[in-house]
C-alpha cells in the first residue's frame, strides 16, 4: 500500500536546529564585538559567549562542500552552523580555543574568512547562464571575477563603511539589487525577435499585449499567422513580454551586456534607504572574466575609499560631494542615458541653482 502523501507541512521548526547556548540565551543577548575580520563574539546577559566564524561561498554549492561544512561543524561546533542573508556560512561555537583550528580548516578547504564590519561582504546574485532563461549575462562568472579582485576588502575592515555589492542578470532582479552600494545589472538593449510560427502555439496574444508597460506590442497578422508586432522605438527592453511568452526572444548574444549602478542602501542608519543610481549604462559581455566590469567596480570602490568620510556609505558620500564630482573623480562619462525618462522622471532633475563651480 502506498504511503500517505504528506503536504503543506511547511519548513521544519527552527528551534530544533538552535545550539544549546542560543536556546538558553534566546532574546537575552547583551552585546557583541567583532574580534577580527570574520570573527565575532556575542555575550549574553548570563555572561555566556557565542563565537561566530563567517566564511564566504560562491552560493552555488555542491553537496560535497555542504557535507564538508557539516563535518567541520561537527568537529568544532557540536554540529551547529547557519547561513547569512548574503550567502556566507557562519560556524557557531562556544569554545574560543577552537577558533583558529576551525579557521585553518575552512581556509584549507578553499573558503575565505571575513565579510564583517566595514568590508565588502559576499555579492548576492542570481542564476545567470547557469540556470536562467532570461539572463542578459552570467551571474556566477561575473561575481567570481569581481570577488577575486575585491577579496582583500572581504578579509579586512578598512573601508569607510559597509559596501554592499549585488548582481542581477536581468531587470527582473531576482536579486533585488536596486538598493546596493554597487549594483551590477545585466541589460538587454534591443527589442525582442518574434518567432511568428511558434507564437500562436505558445502564447495568449491578449496577455502578451497587456504585458508591455509601454504599449509597444500590438496584435498583427504576419504571413497569415495570428501574431504580434513590436514598435521598436517604444521598447524599453524590460523583458516582461518574454516572461509571459517564450516566442518573443529578448536574449541577444550581440547586444546584451552589463550596467553599473551606485549609491543605494537598505539600512535606515543615518539616512533613509536609497535606490542605486546609474553610473555606467552599458558594458559588453566579455566572458569568462568580464575585465571591463571588474575594472569599473574596482575604480569606483577605490575612489570611494579614498574620498569618503568614516561611516559614509557610497550614496551618502555621493550626496555630500554631488554627482558631477562623482563622475569627475571616477572618470565615468555622463551621457543622455543617465537622465531618467520613465514615469516621474522629473523628480530627478536638478531644480535649484545650488551648484559647485
Amino acid at each position: 500500500m502506498a504511503e500517505e502523501r504528506i503536504t503543506d507541512i511547511g519548513p521544519p521548526n527552527y528551534e530544533q536546529f538552535l545550539p544549546p547556548v542560543i536556546k538558553k540565551n534566546y532574546g537575552k543577548w547583551d552585546h557583541h564585538e567583532i574580534l577580527k575580520p570574520g570573527v565575532m563574539v556575542h555575550v549574553a546577559e548570563s555572561g555566556d559567549k557565542l563565537f561566530t566564524v563567517r566564511c564566504g561561498t560562491p552560493r552555488l554549492l555542491a553537496i560535497t562542500s555542504i557535507r564538508k561544512f557539516a563535518d567541520i561543524a561537527d568537529k568544532y561546533c557540536d554540529g551547529h552552523l547557519r547561513w547569512t542573508s548574503r550567502n556566507n556560512v557562519e560556524f557557531l561555537l562556544t569554545d574560543e580555543s577552537k577558533i583558529e583550528a576551525l579557521i585553518a580548516e575552512v581556509e584549507e578547504y578553499g573558503f575565505p574568512i571575513g565579510g564583517m564590519g566595514n568590508c565588502i561582504s559576499n555579492i548576492v546574485h542570481t542564476q545567470g547562464w547557469v540556470h536562467c532563461h532570461s539572463a542578459a549575462s552570467d551571474a556566477s562568472g561575473t561575481v567570481k571575477a569581481v570577488m577575486d579582485e575585491l577579496m582583500p576588502h572581504f578579509q579586512n575592515m578598512e573601508l569607510p563603511a559597509k559596501l554592499r555589492v549585488a548582481y542581477a542578470c536581468c531587470l527582473n532582479m531576482c536579486g533585488a539589487v536596486h538598493c546596493s552600494d554597487i549594483a551590477i545589472l545585466g541589460v538587454h538593449t534591443r527589442a525582442p525577435v518574434i518567432e511568428h510560427d511558434d507564437l500562436p502555439k505558445m502564447c495568449e496574444i491578449p496577455t502578451l499585449v497587456a504585458s508591455c508597460p509601454t504599449g509597444a506590442i500590438r496584435p498583427a497578422t504576419v504571413d497569415g499567422v495570428q501574431s504580434v508586432e513590436i514598435v521598436d522605438e517604444q521598447c524599453m527592453f524590460c523583458g516582461n513580454c518574454y516572461t509571459v511568452c517564450p516566442a518573443v526572444k529578448i536574449n541577444n548574444a550581440q547586444t546584451d551586456g552589463i550596467s553599473i549602478w551606485v549609491g543605494g542602501k537598505v539600512s535606515n542608519a543615518r539616512v533613509a534607504p536609497k535606490f542605486s543610481k546609474l553610473a555606467i549604462p552599458f558594458i559588453p559581455n566579455n566572458p569568462p572574466r568580464w575585465p571591463e566590469v571588474v575594472d569599473a567596480v574596482v575604480k569606483i570602490i577605490n575612489v570611494y575609499a579614498e574620498n569618503a568620510r568614516k561611516h559614509e556609505r557610497m550614496g551618502e558620500w555621493i550626496d555630500r560631494i554631488g554627482w558631477p564630482k562623482f563622475f569627475e573623480l571616477t572618470d565615468i562619462e555622463f551621457t543622455k542615458y543617465h537622465i531618467d525618462d520613465f514615469k516621474h522622471a522629473g523628480e530627478t532633475y536638478m531644480r535649484t541653482a545650488q551648484l559647485r563651480h
Binding site: E3, R5, T7, D8, I9, G10, P11, P12, N13, F17, G27, W29, H31, G56, P58, R59, L60, L61, A62, I63, T64, I66, A70, L81, W83, S85, L92, G110, F111, P112, Q127, W129, V130, H131, C132, S134, G141, A145, D148, M151, F154, C174, A176, C179, A210, S211, P213, N251, A253, N268, A269, R270, P273, N285, P287, P288, R289, K310, H311, H344
Partner: protein, 394 residues
C-alpha cells in the same frame, strides 16, 4: 577527480583566483552525467554569450502550483542529460539555522533525486536544488516531506517568507523574527503553495531598522522591528568608547535629527526626536541598546523594477506590537484584508505596491479600514488636485 566530458577552457579560467569558484563546485558533482552536460552547456553559453535555458513550462507536484520551476535546455540533442533540469525551492528553516545532521539529510535527499548542485540560498531565502528530471519531481517531494521539509513558493503566490537572525543571536532584535516568520509561513501554507494572487507577495521579517534581510527593498510586506521608549544607555561603556570613538564627530554629528549630545562625560539623548536609525547603537554596541517597549513598523509595497518601476516599502502601520502570545493576529488580519482587496482588484502581474499607486493610498487605506496618519508620508501633497467627497462637509 572525475574525467570531464567536455573541454571547458573558458570556465576553467574561473577556477583560478582566490575567491571560491562555482566551476569547482560544479565539477565536484561531475560524476553525475547531468552535471557534465550542465557544465558543457554553460561553456557553450560562455562561447556564444547567451543563455541556453528555455523558458519555464508547467511542472510541479500534485496539488501545488509552485515550488518547482521548469527548466529545459534549448540544445537537448547536444546536452540530453539536461534536456529537463528543473529548479526546486525548498522552504528554509527560520534564519537559516541548521545542524550538520539536517544538512546531511538534505544532501542525501538531493543526491537521490537530482544533480547535487544547490544554491545556499536563493534570493528569496529558499534552499535551491538546481536541476533534476521531470520524473524525479514527485519522488523528491515525497522524500523531502518524509524528512520534515516542504517546498517553497514560486509564481503568483505568497513567496517563502524569510527573516534575520533575530533574538537567536542579536541584541537588537525588537521582536522574535524567527517565530513570526515560522508562524506566518505555517498559517498561510495554502497561499504559499497555491497561486491565487495577481502576482507574488513577499514577507520579510527584520528585527531592527538595520534591516539585514533588506525587507524594505525586497518584500511586499516588511515587518521591521523598532521601539517606542528610550534607548538604553550604559554611560560607563560610553566613556570607554570615548577613548577610541570621536563621539561628537561620529555620533552626534551623524545623528539624522541631532538628538544626541555629548559633554565629554555623559551622553544625552532626546528620545522624543530619535527616529530609530540605529547609527549610534551600531557604533557603540556595548553602550547603547534599543529601548524596552518593542514592536515593529509594518511597511508595504516594496519591489524590484518589473514592471512599473522599483519601489521601496512605505509605512503602513507605524507601530504594531509583535507579542508572540498574540499569535500575530493583527498582522494576519491586515494581511488578509490586503489580499482580499488586491486579490479582487489587482491586475495580472501587478504587485501590491503598484496597485496602491494605481488606486491611491487613501482609497487603499479606506478599503482596508486604516486611518491615515502623518507617519505614512514624507510630506503632505503639494498639488491642489484633491478628489473631494461629501465627507468634507461632515
Amino acid at each position: 577527480m572525475t574525467e570531464m566530458k567536455y573541454k571547458t577552457p573558458l570556465l576553467d579560467e574561473l577556477e583560478k583566483g582566490p575567491w571560491p569558484s562555482f566551476v569547482k563546485e560544479m565539477k565536484k558533482e561531475a560524476h553525475r552525467p547531468m552535471v557534465q552536460d550542465a557544465i558543457g552547456q554553460l561553456e557553450r553559453s560562455y562561447e556564444e554569450h547567451i543563455s541556453h535555458w528555455k523558458h519555464g513550462g508547467l511542472v510541479g507536484v500534485m496539488g501545488y502550483g509552485g515550488g518547482v520551476i521548469g527548466r529545459y535546455s534549448d540544445l537537448p540533442e547536444e546536452f540530453p542529460e539536461v534536456a529537463a533540469f528543473h529548479t526546486h525551492r525548498v522552504n528554509q528553516p527560520s534564519a537559516w539555522f541548521y545542524t550538520s545532521e539536517a544538512l546531511r539529510t538534505l544532501c542525501d535527499i538531493w543526491e537521490r533525486h537530482g544533480s547535487g548542485l544547490t544554491n545556499m540560498h536563493g534570493s528569496t531565502g529558499d534552499i535551491v536544488f538546481l536541476g533534476s528530471t521531470t520524473e524525479e519531481i514527485e519522488p523528491l517531494f515525497a522524500d523531502l516531506t518524509k524528512h520534515g521539509f516542504d517546498l517553497g513558493g514560486s509564481g503568483s503566490n505568497m513567496r517563502t517568507p524569510s527573516c534575520c537572525v533575530g533574538p537567536a543571536r542579536c541584541e537588537w532584535a525588537c521582536y522574535d523574527t524567527l517565530d513570526a516568520c515560522y508562524n506566518i509561513t505555517q498559517e498561510f501554507q495554502d497561499e504559499l503553495h497555491r497561486p491565487f494572487f495577481p502576482y507574488k507577495y513577499k514577507f520579510k521579517f527584520a528585527g531592527c531598522p538595520n534591516d539585514c534581510v533588506a525587507s524594505i527593498a525586497r518584500s511586499d510586506c516588511s515587518v521591521m522591528g523598532t521601539w517606542k521608549d528610550e534607548i538604553q544607555v550604559n554611560q560607563a561603556a560610553v566613556l570607554d568608547y570615548a577613548k577610541t570613538v570621536d563621539i561628537d564627530a561620529e555620533i552626534c554629528d551623524l545623528c539624522p535629527t541631532r538628538c544626541v549630545e555629548w559633554d565629554g562625560k555623559t551622553l544625552e539623548i532626546d528620545n522624543s526626536n530619535c527616529v530609530k536609525c540605529m547609527h549610534c547603537i551600531n557604533v557603540m554596541p556595548k553602550a547603547l541598546k534599543p529601548g524596552k517597549e518593542r514592536g515593529a513598523t509594518i511597511l508595504i509595497g516594496g519591489k524590484a523594477p518589473i514592471i512599473g518601476g522599483a519601489l521601496l516599502c512605505s509605512v503602513f502601520v507605524p507601530f504594531l506590537e509583535m507579542d508572540k502570545d498574540s499569535d500575530y493576529e493583527d498582522l494576519k488580519e491586515l494581511t488578509e484584508a490586503i489580499w482580499d482587496l488586491w486579490g479582487e482588484h489587482g491586475k495580472l502581474r501587478e504587485r501590491v505596491g503598484e496597485f496602491i499607486q494605481r488606486v491611491g493610498m487613501s482609497n487603499f487605506l479606506e478599503e482596508i479600514g486604516l486611518d491615515p496618519v502623518p507617519e505614512m508620508v514624507m510630506a503632505p501633497r503639494s498639488n491642489p488636485y484633491i478628489f473631494f467627497d461629501d465627507e468634507i462637509f461632515e
